[in-house]
């Protein structure tokens, strides 16, 4: 009847099959090595590269909830911004050590994520979109109202971040920034990869595939959703903190709706639910924007809009999904 497995399949092959699903492919190793190229080939593009790495981390955090758990959000900049402000304010208070600052921001954003997760898991569809959007705007307004703390629309100038390990100084060319952001992105990617290949990742895919069935197999899926939302919020907070630390500035735009929307666009361009989609999407979006804005600053968003429409109409699984279908791999739709 099928050739996927011989009829006398046994337990060992089942285990191996599952293990194979999470094995590193050579493509992946090449991909990560390629991300080191800017150091040597395009050193003048390192500032852009580090902002891409930050955007990719942010998109990765959204992929965990959108691509794996099916939570659509229009307000994730909320956590990005909270992380950015947490790191910035810690630095303002006199502590500019990057790694502890990063940790502090992640924990803070995660905590807020956990609190809001109680609301998020209760709703779906349009109500979910609107509640995430509403919470995002509320946070923005709150930060604006607290301009004595946040600097409001004028923004805050963040004291220069101390050298990493007291050795790597943040330089004008952006070598340290890119190394730092890339390292954090890579570590978070490894954790995300582990997560999506764990039993918890399987449960999330279950929720995405058929949320109605989950309670019927004994799953308290609200708790799963709360957990992943919290993790995602913390990761978004890390991304925000990286931005504040590497650019020495933070303003209200870190919380803006545009940022929430952009990250979704990146993710969908790249392809949801495959981790690499977040990174590839961030690269394409920001490089395209950088190049288009360089050519034609007034109308670049025309091309971004067009690109978005083309991707949705002709590559509904994103650019990576499209490529892997071309390559005839397992990701058929």
């Amino acid at each position: 009847m099928n050739q996927a497995m011989s009829a006398n399949a046994n337990v060992d092959t089942a285990r191996q099959w599952l293990k194979r699903q999470s094995r590193w492919s050579p493509f992946e190793i090449v991909f990560w090595l390629a991300l080191l190229l800017p150091f040597f080939l395009f050193p003048t593009y390192l500032p852009l590269a580090s902002q891409i790495a930050i955007a990719a981390l942010f998109a990765l955090s959204v992929d965990l909830i959108l691509g794996y758990a099916g939570i659509i959000t229009l307000g994730h900049a909320m956590f990005f911004g909270l992380g950015a402000y947490a790191a910035a304010l810690l630095a303002k208070a006199g502590w500019s050590e990057p790694l502890t600052g990063l940790l502090f921001a992640g924990v803070f954003a995660g905590l807020i994520g956990f609190i809001t997760s109680f609301m998020i898991v209760r709703v779906q569809h349009l109500a979910l979109l609107m509640i995430t959007l509403g919470l995002g705007v509320l946070t923005l307004e709150l930060a604006n109202a607290m301009s004595w703390l946040t600097g409001g629309t004028d923004g805050l100038r963040v004291p220069r971040t101390w050298p990493i390990f007291n050795y790597f100084r943040f330089d004008l060319w952006g070598y340290t920034s890119y190394g730092y952001t890339l390292a954090v992105l890579f570590i978070c990617f490894l954790l995300s990869r582990l997560l999506v290949n764990s039993s918890f990742g399987l449960a999330l895919r279950g929720i995405r595939e058929n949320v109605k069935r989950m309670p019927a197999i004994g799953s308290d899926h609200h708790r799963h959703l709360q957990k992943i939302y919290t993790i995602s919020a913390a990761m978004a907070g890390l991304a925000g903190a990286l931005l504040a630390q590497t650019t020495s500035t933070v303003a209200l735009d870190v919380l803006s709706f545009t940022r929430s929307a952009d990250v979704i666009v990146m993710l969908v361009l790249g392809g949801t639910g495959r981790l690499y989609g977040a990174i590839v999407g961030a690269i394409i979006f920001l490089v395209a924007r950088d190049q288009l804005a360089g050519i034609n600053p007034q109308y670049w968003y025309f091309w971004i809009g067009l690109l978005l429409m083309v991707v949705v109409l002709f590559m509904p699984k994103g650019i990576l999904g499209f490529l892997s279908r071309l390559a005839g791999r397992r990701d058929n739709d």
Binding site: L66, I72, M119, R122, V123, Q124, H125, L126, A127, L129, M130, I131, L133, G134, L135, V137, L138, E141, L142, N144, A145, F257, A261, I264, V265, V268, T272, Q298, Y299, Y301, F302, I304, G305, L306, L307, L308, M309, V311, V312, L313, P316
Partner: protein, 286 residues
Amino acid sequence: MSSIVIVLFDGFAFGMLLFVLSVGLSVTLGLMNFINLAHGAFGMLGGYAAVTAMRLLGFPFLLALPTAFLAAALLSIVLERTLFRRLYGAPELNQVLLTIGMVFVAAAIATYLFGTVQQVIILPSWLRGSVEIAGMRFGVYRIFLIGIALIVTALLVFGLERTRLGAQIRAAVDNQRVAKGLGLDVEKIFGITFALGSGLAGLGGALAVEIVGLDPSFGFHFLVYVLIVVSVGGLGSITGSFVGAALLGIFDVAGKYFWPEIGSFLIYLLLVAILFVRPLGLFGKR
């Protein structure tokens, strides 16, 4: 006391503007479950159509309004046929992104054609200023807005309750499968509804220029308000949109009047609170 009356009146008028802008989206969302974030862009189109009609063709304001309606409705028919239709039943994320892409493109086209400058509509003198009623001053244009919205509501309610098309739309909103089974051409019904809804957005856009101005970012700006009205009111419900818009307008204005410190928060708090308690909105069924 009189201040409160005026504040409520202003809020209601603003709400009615939102109603005209958003009722079309509510019905189309309810009918096809299609999340059309480009709805605000049709409003923008209406605004530019009205401005152009008045400036280049010398149309009077009252004629510019139906022009705006027609322009938005006609374009929406074309787009519905060519683009939107392909995504019915697609994941909501794809719908969201396609239509956001359209808003981007629309904004760029508007920038190209009209520049980034604020567009202005010169109202006829009878619509300007204010009138005094019982010792209170009411803005004439706001009275006009309420009037238009009530006429639109009346037409919609009459159309839905009394006409054949209305009955078909109601049947399709209630249960598409059954409607199809009864031999209704649901796609055609949706196309017409879509055009009507977009036309109303165009009308709303033309009406909004006087209150909030018009520039290429209009499609984004009003989107949030429109979505709030639709989600709070509940999908597919004219009553819901009416109440949602009126509530939003009144709460927005009254909140700013009584508690100016939290004026900007209030509608979002209201949004989150209402959706938390009633995820389907006040009048939503599904």
